[in-house]
């Protein structure tokens, strides 16, 4: 019996040595350590043996079982490890291969800049309003102190819907300023609003001129609003948008619907004020017109200029986008070439 155990042990170990897969290992375990294995049979038969022999064989059999079990555990650990290693080896890829492409959508640069401009003013408490592109002469000109045959009409090359161009004619708005009047007709002070939208010009296109543009109009009306507040608001905007270090110029200019009138320019991005072709050698790039709302304009909006004051401003979105992205041809915006659009 003892000899039988010895042989069994040796045979099992020899078989175990040849096992190379987890599946084989399981058959080995069933064969040598399972319920029907020889070893189990020997252990079960112990009871029928004489006491002396039972002790010897029992001890020996248990020892063989322990030894086989530990060999099994060790083999199992070893096999699991080698399986994992070979699995991992098979999983590897060339990580430099390109990923699966996902098509990218982007906003038009005008939209991006427009949203950025509006966001800055919204943070300053301005509310957003929109108005019609096709306007009455009254809102676009007359109510803004630009009656028919006024010299300032030269500042606005107009696309007309009605050929008579007279009072009551319809036109494509040349600026977003008609919204000043439309808003005053609807709201009472305090007013703090921005009004973005498309504007149109009777203008031959070239690198710096377009027949369609986007503008953002601003309007703030209440008691005690001053030119200094306008300056503060616009400087804050410029700092937010162009950076704290950009120098800003705040100079006198003329628009019939504001008094005093203002033009704001920022230091040229290309030459930093030294003068270059981009800034026509002035060192400055104009970005917006502004001023204190003219008393007559307030009156037309049914707001008493003796009690209230206000400021207004208007800026061209493309011009600001051109400065931000160093775009040198305005026609790129609405020709919508994907090679241009995908850069933003």
């Amino acid at each position: 019996m003892l000899k039988q155990l010895e042989e069994l042990h040796l045979e099992a170990l020899a078989k175990l040595n040849r096992v190379s897969e987890l599946k084989e290992l399981e058959s080995w375990r069933i064969r040598y350590l399972g319920k029907k294995s020889k070893l189990t049979q020997i252990l079960r038969s112990l009871a029928s043996l004489p006491l002396e022999e039972r002790k010897k064989v029992g001890a020996q059999a248990n020892e063989v079982k322990k030894a086989l079990e530990s060999s099994f555990t060790e083999k199992e650990r070893h096999l699991e490890e080698t399986t994992l290693i070979s699995f991992l080896e098979r999983q590897g890829v060339d990580v430099t291969l390109p990923g699966r492409p996902i098509s990218i959508g982007r906003l038009h640069p005008t939209t991006r800049i427009l949203e950025e401009i509006c966001d800055i003013f919204i943070r300053m408490g301005f509310q957003v309003f929109e108005g019609p592109d096709v306007e009455w002469d009254y809102y676009n000109f007359e109510a803004l102190n630009i009656p028919q045959w006024h010299p300032a009409r030269d500042m606005f090359a107009t696309l007309w819907i009605d050929a008579d161009m007279g009072k009551g004619a319809r036109l494509l708005r040349t600026h977003t300023s008609p919204m000043q009047i439309r808003l005053m007709e609807r709201k009472r002070p305090p007013i703090r609003a921005i009004m973005p939208g498309r504007v149109y010009r009777y203008e031959a296109t070239d690198a710096t001129h377009e027949s369609m543009l986007y503008q953002v109009e601003g309007l703030a009306i209440n008691k005690n609003i001053t030119l200094a507040d306008l300056k503060g608001t616009l400087f804050e905007f410029c700092h937010c948008f162009f950076g704290q270090e950009r120098r800003i110029r705040f100079r006198c200019d003329y628009f019939p619907f504001v008094e005093p009138g203002v033009e704001v320019a920022i230091e040229c991005s290309a030459c930093h004020g030294a003068g270059c072709r981009l800034c026509s050698y002035s060192g400055w790039l104009e970005i917006l017109g502004a001023g204190m709302v003219h008393p007559d304009v307030l009156k037309r909006g049914n707001i008493d200029p003796e009690v209230y004051t206000g400021f207004a401003f208007g800026m061209g979105v493309e011009r600001i986008a051109m400065l931000r992205y160093s775009i040198d041809d305005i026609r790129l915006f609405y020709s919508n070439d994907s090679r241009f659009l995908e850069q933003f």
Partner: protein, 820 residues
């Protein structure tokens, strides 16, 4: 407007360097666009005198002048035909920088041997000096020019190019700008003194003036000078005109122009003897009256135009251009000199209807002061006597029916502070205004003055105008920088409709870009032809609004759809893009509105005869080309109808909406492959493949799918408030079934029946099969149904029961059989 620094210095003492001066003027509202330095490159060019002239031994057309430049006498080679002994000429020595007469480029003068004779220097033409384009002859200087003086000291100047805003016609002249400089730099303005001799005979015996409508011509002044001699102007006068970009003509015309450039008042000289009836009448033109203007054009006039007439006919278009009939010629000996004031609007109207502009009209149409004409008239009369001889009739005509008394404007320190934020005392305000020529009077209130506007500042009418004057002279850079301190406007309790709409637009844009769509913005204006191309029959459903004065045929009509612009952009991009293209635009279309019915014709206002178009926000997206970019992962399938529909579904789903899709008959889309997007019974858009004829008309290379939605209608369907639904607590049971139906049955019909049963939580079509194993005329839908109850765990029996009822109904209503 160009202005010469040299000329400015006649009236005001200028110490500032040109750049500093330019900055001051720019800040104060007169933007300097350009500073041009005349003679800046004239190194080594001096004034010389031709003291001898010998022929060139080897060339008959060349000469050998000897030029005395004080330090030495040099003989050079010269080819100009006009050179003569005794002339004062600009002489360039070796090393001078000159413009090459042939190439127009700047070059340095080197010694040269010309047909065997060494020439170390040259006598210059105006072109070589950059003064004009004249290269045929050498420039001849006035005889009093000092020999040996550097030419830049004698002729050099700085020319400023100013952008004068339309409110400042007073600055369209040298004195006007000198006045600004004086105020900005604290200097005094010196105006030229005027006095001249007059003859015995009063002007009334020569001419009478009749103004028909003082509203159109508030003032008409005139003088008469007899016995003049028309000739060329002296050099200095010609140079001044040239430096302002005006061509010298003769002494009479040049003087009128000179005085205009000096004082800003346009003048006109008539040949007195060509006038009929010793009479000037200022009147509107008669219908179809004709006249030839100085530029040689024959005009047919209308009452839109104001004319100057004699007893018989129009002799000038008032404020715009003189007539050919009464032009000053070499034979003219008596001049009637006009200095008048015209209504700004009638001048503009005249320019517009005649399509004619002049140096005079660009001043008159901005509204010159009616107090201006007299002084410039006398100045011109004086210059005429000095430079053209003759004698002035006694006195001047001064018909001034439109005279008005200046009114005082009250201005207080409080008002200055209220508008500008600048705290200034009344004496500082007074000082600034006086420096600009305003008259300030004290009032009963210590902090307030009454201000009389000087006649040349017709633009200043209110206290706000005065505040600008004060602030711009003190400097906009002195305005403090403050934050808005006024209360914020109330926020609207519910977002306004327009606000909601712009929020929705922003959300739609974000969804579409996240779906891989590029946003585009196309012109609101388009061509009729492009709109027609959207219909295979080239028919328009809506007549678009037309622009009366379009820039081009391409931009003549307001778009009534976004499709044309989006498809054009797609076609443009297909030319260079191989990958799939996904584009969208969200923007306005313009739909003409029917006119309201008005009971009585008499009560109509202009607005009643026209209406603004409806401006409707739309969304249009297109997809075309391969679904995925070319890559080693494969998938070269083309984007198709169901990609477009998927995007439409996503747009709606993310807005909390579910639509049904019904076959539509949109004529621009492929029949049978386009569907209306329906929500709650309303059509809010359409999705489909582009009609091949339309694709062809837009020169599109592959099939194109299109989505179009009405943003306003979509907004109307979004209820806004979302309500939380509890997460299901009980497990679901999933069943897959395959249904065999005839080809006419739509999936929607099948799903509607399945969805109508209780316990059905989700239905997903996961396969559509219609091939060999399926009987002819049939198709198979494989559908996964998820059953769930909100209050208990379902049993198999429960589900079996529901599904059996479902299958019965599917069979009875659609003939659908369960596929084995």
């Amino acid at each position: 407007m160009k202005v010469s620094l040299k000329w400015l210095k006649d009236y005001v003492d200028i110490k500032l360097a040109p750049k500093g001066l330019a900055e001051k003027l720019t800040m104060a509202g007169m933007e300097i666009k350009d500073i041009q330095e005349v003679g800046g490159t004239w190194n080594n060019v001096v004034i010389g005198e031709v003291i001898a002239l010998n022929p060139h031994p080897n060339a008959s057309r060349l000469k050998l002048p000897t030029v005395n430049i004080s330090t030495q006498q040099i003989t050079v080679v010269c080819g100009a035909p006009n050179i003569a002994v005794g002339q004062k000429v600009p002489f360039a020595g070796v090393g001078a920088k000159l413009i090459d007469g042939h190439t127009g480029k700047l070059m340095t003068l080197k010694p040269a041997r010309i047909r065997g004779i060494l020439s170390e220097g040259m006598v210059c033409s105006e072109k070589e000096l950059g003064i004009s384009d004249n290269h045929e002859s050498i420039m001849v200087l006035p005889s009093e020019a000092p020999i040996g003086m550097p030419l830049s000291d004698y002729l050099g100047d700085i020319i400023f190019d100013l952008d004068i805003t339309p409110n400042r016609p007073d600055c369209l002249c040298t004195i006007g700008i000198a006045r600004e400089i004086a105020a900005l730099t604290g200097k005094i303005l010196h105006q030229p003194e005027i006095h001249y001799e007059e003859m015995e005979e009063p002007i009334d015996s020569f001419i009478s003036v009749d103004i028909i409508d003082p509203g159109l011509c508030p003032r008409y002044c005139a003088s008469l000078i007899a016995g003049i001699k028309v000739a060329s102007s002296p050099n200095w006068l010609q140079q001044r005109l040239s430096s302002y970009g005006m061509r010298p003509i003769n002494n009479v015309v040049d003087i009128t122009n000179y005085v205009m450039l000096e004082h800003g008042q346009p003048l006109h000289a008539f040949d007195y003897h060509k006038l009929k009836g010793k009479q000037i009448v200022v009147r509107r033109s008669r219908n179809d009256e004709t006249m030839a203007t100085l530029d040689g054009t024959e005009h047919v006039l209308s009452p839109d135009t104001l004319v100057i007439a004699d007893k018989e006919r129009a002799i000038a278009i008032a404020g715009i251009m003189g007539g050919l009939d009464t032009e000053v010629t070499d034979e003219t000996d008596t001049i009637l000199l006009e200095s008048a004031n015209f209504n700004q609007a009638i001048i503009r109207q005249g320019c517009y209807s005649l399509n004619l502009q002049s140096e005079a009209s660009i001043r008159f149409d901005k509204g010159l002061s009616s107090d201006l004409p007299l002084l410039p008239l006398k100045r011109a009369t004086q210059l005429l006597q000095e430079l053209a001889g003759g004698k002035a009739a006694r006195g001047v005509v001064d018909a001034y029916p439109g005279k008005s008394e200046p009114k005082g404007i009250l201005l207080s320190t409080g008002e200055v502070k209220r508008l500008s934020g600048l705290k200034l005392n009344i004496s500082r305000i007074t000082e600034v205004l006086q420096s600009l020529g305003f008259e300030c009077r004290y009032t009963d209130i210590a902090s307030q003055i009454s201000v009389i506007t000087p006649y040349w500042r017709s633009d200043v009418k209110s206290s706000a105008d005065l505040v600008e004057e004060v602030v711009r002279i003190i400097g906009y850079d002195k305005v403090p920088i403050t934050r808005l301190s006024s209360p914020l406007p109330p926020q609207e309790p519910r977002l306004s409709a327009t606000r909601q709409q712009s929020n929705l637009k922003q959300r739609l844009r974000n969804i579409l870009t996240s779906c891989g769509f590029q946003e585009i913005l196309t012109y609101s204006l388009t061509s009729l032809e492009r709109l027609q191309r959207l219909s295979p029959k080239l028919e328009l459903n809506v007549t678009p609004l037309k622009v009366a004065n379009p820039m081009s045929k391409e931009q003549e009509y307001l778009r009534t759809t976004l499709r044309a612009g989006v498809l054009t952009t797609l076609a443009d991009n297909q030319k260079h893009e191989e990958a799939g293209i996904r584009l969208f635009e969200i923007g306005k279309i313009f739909l003409p509105q029917p006119l309201p019915v008005i009971a009585s014709e008499a009560k109509q206002s202009p607005q009643d005869k026209k209406r603004l178009p409806q401006e409707k926000e739309m969304l249009c997206a297109v997809l075309s080309g391969p679904r995925a970019e070319l890559s080693w992962h494969g998938n070269e399938e083309l984007l198709n109808f169901f990609d477009a529909k998927g995007v439409a579904e996503r747009l709606l789903k993310q807005s909390g909406l579910k639509a049904t899709f019904e076959a539509s008959d949109d004529e621009g889309l492929l029949p049978g492959k386009n569907a209306n997007i329906i929500i709650g019974g309303d059509k809010i858009g359409v999705v489909g493949d582009l009609h091949p004829k339309v694709a062809q008309a837009f020169e599109l290379s592959t099939s194109v799918c299109l989505i179009e939605m009405d943003v306003e209608k979509l907004l109307g369907k979004i209820t806004g408030l979302k309500k939380y639904q509890p997460i299901p607590r009980f497990p679901s049971i999933t069943r897959d079934i395959a249904l065999l139906v005839s080809k006419q049955v739509t999936y929607q019909q099948v799903e509607d029946i399945i969805q109508s049963f209780p316990l059905v939580a989700k239905v997903t079509l996961f396969d559509l099969y219609a091939a060999t194993q399926i009987p002819q005329g049939k198709k198979s839908f494989a559908v996964r149904i998820v059953y769930r109850s909100p209050d208990h765990t379902l049993t198999t029996m429960e589900v079996d029961k529901v599904q059996q009822q479902m299958l019965n109904r599917l069979y009875n209503e659609l003939g659908a059989a369960l596929r084995a």
